[in-house]
Amino acid sequence: MMLQLSGLNAHYGHVHALCGVDLAVQGGEIVTLIGANGAGKSTLMMSIFGVPRASSGRILFEGEDITQLPTHQISHRGIALVPEGRRIYPRMTVLENLQMGTAKADPTNFQTDLDRMEALFPILADRRDQRAGTLSGGEQQMLAIARALMSRPKLLMLDEPSLGLAPLYIKKIFQIIRELKRDFGMTVLLVEQNANHALKVADRAYVLQHGRIVLSGTGAELLASPEVRAAYLDGGGGH
């Protein structure tokens, strides 16, 4: 088991954001977490990184308890997070953004990794010396993913990667997630509101509601589940 959360509780002030969440991600699989706005999806992602710190429960990564590790140490264990809203560095160039992804990576790998990323996202090679803030939303999302991959993570966590993107780019993002699994054997934990797309790429999926896991199963199972269809796919919170 690559990542295992057991009985995870987290609070934002007095708000009980996560209530006893159990979740597991195995090496090489794509796991999706769906849920409505405010269900606690992003909180779950961030609490794996220790912001906010879990108030109780345990987070194991490759068998090691990382619940109390400082945030940067958690990242150095091999977890990369693409935060919600992309959060690229707008005034820095694309190349500089990519380099910031290598905070603790071996600098001799830089060129190899850069070539790999530019092969995966050719648009970044064209935009290399451009300020990242001048990129379109979709391009910025590609940059954010590439930046996270520069650290050679074992687990890639994506928080709402399709948020606010044009349909063409949404398709592309999910295409890339598939490629990452197929070509690099990447393990992905994906948080999405776009339940339809997310469940299609997912091996397994969890549904989060008011800070609790209410449903889990394979992507296909959840896609066929009447409850999920009603709540997240046919109108409701889905797109």
Binding site: H72, R87, D129
Partner: protein, 430 residues
């Protein structure tokens, strides 16, 4: 009468109407302010006089001035529209800046030669360089790391007092005290940085402002330690390899050593070149830091702290490093200041100093090294050159600051040079 109306070409009647409305407002305002005046008739009587010709002139100036302003604005808008929309070639402006930078260093080296008999000019140039150095130091904290620091003068004071105390109490020389004072200032930087790690923007600004005042108040009130408001005097001047710029005959006189005629200007030149060297070293140091992982992360923290955490950057270390290094550079400048003045008191380290240094960084363009130099020149020289304007001096100063911000909202030089340029697959990526 908003700017939006003038971005399109106006017809003549529109222009006249616009100018008339401005003139009308000027007339309304002008009647009490210019049209009427009081004179003292002796005793308690005041007599109201009218000045209608002056008022008419004022209204006419407003009318014509408004028309002229329209024309200028339209010309500027047309020129802006003609300029190609895409960003200017970065490489070109970087190269130009490099050339200007070297020209500036050359000019700075020649200042004492050009003004060899002008004590005032060399003194003024030295002051400019102190502010350049302080600006470069604060630039690390504010410009690169994006941590708004309103109490930077505290580190300047810590450096100055450390040297003053070490030299007057323990007999340390300038060169012995310099690194120690830098270290002490850096320590104070960490003391300020640690509790403020989680603060940003206005909240951080308030805490740093308070920190600056605390240091100053300690210096004012702890009389037995710092001399209180009387400050510390007779601080030794810096020497060179154990020799001093003193009249011949005295101990270790450079004039005796080199068998040259003594002139008090020699010490001034030495101080000037000393601060020039310190400032240039500061510049090289900060430039070098920008290319190291820590320095690169400063800018990343400024841009987005959450993203930094997600990428595994230890933002605590990065911010503390920025505070410590910024403070250290301020401390070095403080040591020089104390050694140059020979006398320091808390008076020299008030909030207005912090404000001027911050203004230099902001007006120059956050993070821009060259911008700091230009802004220091403007902010230090302008009040000096403006002495002829007597009481209007500060008004002129304020107007210049407002104009710069209107003309270049991002600072005089908002250009940011990338720290990393692609050099091809086989190239060196440092």
């Amino acid at each position: 009468m908003q700017a939006a109306a003038t971005t399109h070409a106006m017809t003549l009647p529109q222009r006249l109407k616009d100018a008339f409305s401005v003139a009308f407002i000027a007339l309304l305002l002008g009647i009490p302010m210019i049209g009427l005046t009081t004179t003292d008739e002796g005793g308690t009587a005041l007599k109201v006089l009218t000045r209608w010709p002056a008022l008419a002139l004022f209204v006419a100036i407003c009318f014509v001035g408004r028309l002229a302003l329209q024309v200028v604005r339209e010309a500027l808008a047309r020129r802006r529209a003609r300029r190609p929309a895409k960003a200017p070639a970065q490489a070109g402006s970087s190269r130009l800046l490099t050339v200007i930078g070297w020209a500036g260093v050359g000019a700075a080296l020649l200042v004492p030669v050009a003004f060899s008999d002008n004590r005032y000019a060399v003194d003024l140039a030295t002051t400019v360089l102190i502010y350049v150095m302080l600006g470069w130091g604060l630039n690390v904290v504010v410009g690169l790391a994006g941590l708004l620091d309103l109490g930077y003068v505290a580190f300047y004071a810590v450096g100055a007092y450390t040297y003053a105390l070490l030299s007057t109490q323990l007999g340390w020389s300038f060169w012995q005290a310099l690194p120690v004072a830098g270290g002490v200032a850096a320590f104070f930087g960490v003391i300020l940085g640690y509790p403020t790690l989680r603060l940003r923007g206005d909240y951080l600004a308030i805490v740093t402002l308070g920190f600056g005042e605390i240091i100053r108040l300690i210096l004012v009130n702890w009389t037995s330690f710092s001399g209180g408001p009387n400050g510390i005097s007779e601080i030794p001047r810096p020497g060179l390899f154990g020799y001093n710029f003193t009249p011949p005959g005295s101990e270790h006189s450079i004039a005796d050593l080199l068998q040259i005629d003594y002139s008090p200007m020699q010490r001034l030149f030495f101080l000037y070149y000393l601060i020039l060297a310190l400032a240039l070293l500061t510049n090289l140091f900060v430039r070098g830091m920008r290319k190291l992982p820590t320095g690169r992360a400063w800018e990343a923290v400024r841009e987005d702290e959450i993203a930094c955490k997600a990428l595994g950057i230890n933002t605590t270390h990065i911010k503390l490093a920025a505070f410590a290094i910024g403070a250290m550079l301020g401390g070095f400048a403080g040591v020089f200041f104390a050694a140059r003045q020979g006398f320091i008191s808390p008076e020299s380290f008030t909030f207005s100093e912090s404000a001027i240094i911050l203004a230099i960084v902001v007006l120059g363009g956050m993070g821009s090294q060259m911008g700091v130099v230009l802004a220091s020149l403007v902010l230090v020289l302008l009040p000096e050159l403006g002495r002829d304007f007597a009481q209007y001096r500060m008004l002129l100063f304020g107007a210049a600051m407002v104009l710069i911000m209107v003309w270049r909202p991002g600072g005089i030089l908002a250009h940011r040079a990338p720290t990393l340029v692609y050099t091809g697959p086989k190239g060196d990526q440092a």
